[in-house]
Amino acid sequence: MIRPFAALDRRTVIKAGAALGVTQIAAPFVISARGETPIKIGVDNPLTGTYAAPGKNENTGMQLAVDQLNAKNGILGRKVELLIEDSTSGDAGTAVQKARKLIERDNVDFLVGNVNSALAQAMAQVSNEKGILHIVPGGHTDGITGVNCKWNVFRVCNTTRMEANSIVPLLFNTYGKKWHFITPDYAFGHTLYEGCEADLKKLGGTITGNELTPLGVTDFSAYLIKARAANPDVLIVLVQGNDMVNCLKQISQFGIEKQLHVAGTQQELESVEAMPPEARVGIWMFEWYWKQPGTTPGLDQFIADIRKRADGKVPTARTWFGYLTIHAYALACEKAKTIEAKAAAKALADLEMPPEIKMQPNKVYFRGGDHQLMLSAFIGELLHKGDGDPENLFKVNHIIAGDSSAPPVSETGCTMQIPA
């Protein structure tokens, strides 16, 4: 008698492991190669996995900025070239391996990445060791510009503390003081929760519970059952990405938003577009938004340029992070008159972004003390259906300056050590 199975032995498992390993060291995807000695920018961002959408949007913004620079005078008269690697969405080993490859083999002058906070921190160790200027466009955990800050590392997106500070008082005054949290169980979620908790307690609020959910969980019903049983005034959703879509979808199916207020801190257009209309509820904070009250210099052109490159889609905060990252690097090099990392880092510290790059009110600049970008927070409400445009799914009610939401450098834990 035969069985459909044969035994798996140790050798075959090792062979399989080796085969999988080979897939990690493929060649980079060179986007453009012009000029004699181009300035090489290494991008190590997720193109696959759960963060592929934000990763790709950041890369689209970067590519637009590179094309704009190359259409003029490049950087210091040299053309600019993007070398893009897939960091994966959650494998720090691969992200580090790709960062080393970009720096050691491809000799990039500047490193960009990552969407995932943990991967961004791992990459920062490598870039620091190699003395390469590095901008983190979209990894939020506080340590990057806090206790783990480095002379060569700058960050564009908010810290979790800035996010909490920008929106907690408004939620408290609008929705009530008894809060229940659904928090992703990893570094980003923990620091974001701590920020919200501290702000809420300062205002005299109480917490009825905090549901820690594993990353990538598909079913939130058990957590929602507990949350509703606690009877809070407001349910605060801190999970992100696909988890946010799943959670809000299930909240609306259970009708919880009709019994409790549902809100949160960071919200992204990528997530909102993936939700059905009925799940788009509550007050949230966007880190940048394409439809702003009043006139914003450069914004219409930016939207038009991105629409041409992204199948008609509008730019998201991620697209803008990528766009600003490249232009900030170019501005720093032009100011320093060199691409040498230490000089460029020094020039980037406290450098204010011009209107057509910042595309928002308030002063936007990299704070010298911790290398954190002071960017505005866009606070408002989600819309069930697009207002005037299918992608206009958020109504901006307040724009809060980064200066007022960021804690002072002395409270971030950052001690900036600049080498001689």
Binding site: R3, T12, T48, T218, A222, N246, A274, M275
Partner: protein, 289 residues
């Protein structure tokens, strides 16, 4: 506390029914062909995205009927072109093939439909909870459980009472003898694979209403389905069904006392089953050797 426990057991059964649907498809393929189909989550994604594409033309109900069939046809073609070539070889070959296929499907989905998730609503009639107190029992979730019950019931009847069903079951136990009796084993395996993928496609359409429709949505559903098979026992479809329901309830009960371990508990269950009864609760002895 008692009410919360009751809520979570009921909720666990609902989730478990969904895991069982995925796991039975996987189990069918594993039992007859010896293929550990890592691309099952990928076929689930294809089912969901096909339903999204078809829905504007034929509505939700039409998409629910058509998308799983189209997914099954894709599965049939994949089996004919790729998987059947590896039947005589070490199972690791088909495992690696389906592992690679899972990446190809994920990236192909991203190329065709975009990296960002897509909105997929459930029909309005199924959208609301059945009562305010039992808010987690929505019309759609009841519908999912009913669908799983009907499909699993029909499948069991087919396997028990039809000629093809009997051959599939016999092939699971002793393929060589079935072949020696003149049964076209190649065609049987192709058909069986397509039925397994049909279930994945159906799970994809049902899941799209419940969770976000995006290229990696199958990943997180695949592992609980494998665990349902291991807990229930390889070689037994009833065991797989039981395994799916058990891990759903265990996960639900853990959520009452220690929510952050509600996912980890299913792995603990798997470890215990492997230690105490390696063939699983209702598994055929020797299937895992």
């Amino acid at each position: 506390m008692l009410e919360l426990t009751f809520f979570n057991v009921t909720n666990g059964l609902i989730i478990g029914a969904f895991y069982a649907l995925m796991a039975i498809g996987l189990s069918l393929i594993l039992n007859l062909s010896g293929v550990i189909n890592f691309a099952h989550g990928g076929f689930l994604v294809i089912g969901g995205y096909l339903a999204f594409t078809l829905r504007p033309y034929i509505g939700f109900w039409g998409a629910l009927l058509v998308a799983p069939f189209l997914t099954a046809i894709i599965g049939f073609v994949v089996e004919r072109l790729l998987i059947r070539r590896l039947y005589g070889r070490d199972p690791l070959y088909s495992l690696l093939l389906t592992f690679g296929l899972a990446f190809i499907i994920e990236d192909g989905t991203r190329q065709i439909w975009g990296a960002n998730g897509l909105p997929f609503s459930v029909p309005e009639a199924l959208m609301s909870p059945l009562s305010t107190q039992f808010f987690f029992i929505t019309g759609y979730r009841m519908f999912m459980v009913a669908m799983v019950a009907i499909v699993v019931g029909v499948l069991f009847v087919l396997l028990r009472y039809t000629r093809i069903g009997v051959r599939i079951r016999a092939g699971t136990l002793d393929l060589e003898t079935v072949a020696a009796l003149g049964v076209n084993v190649r065609a049987l395996r192709s058909l069986n694979f397509a039925v397994g993928i049909f279930l994945a496609g159906l799970a994809g359409v049902l899941a799209a209403g419940q969770i976000g429709l995006e290229p990696t949505m199958g990943d997180s559903l695949l592992m609980p389905s494998f665990i349902a098979i291991i807990v229930g026992g390889v070689g037994s479809l009833t065991g797989t069904l039981l395994g799916g329901l058990l891990i759903g309830v265990a996960s639900g009960l853990t959520a009452v006392v220690f929510p952050s371990a509600s996912e980890a508990i299913i792995y603990v269950m798997m470890a215990i089953v492997l230690l105490v009864r390696p063939r699983g609760l209702l598994g055929e002895e020797g299937m895992m050797s």
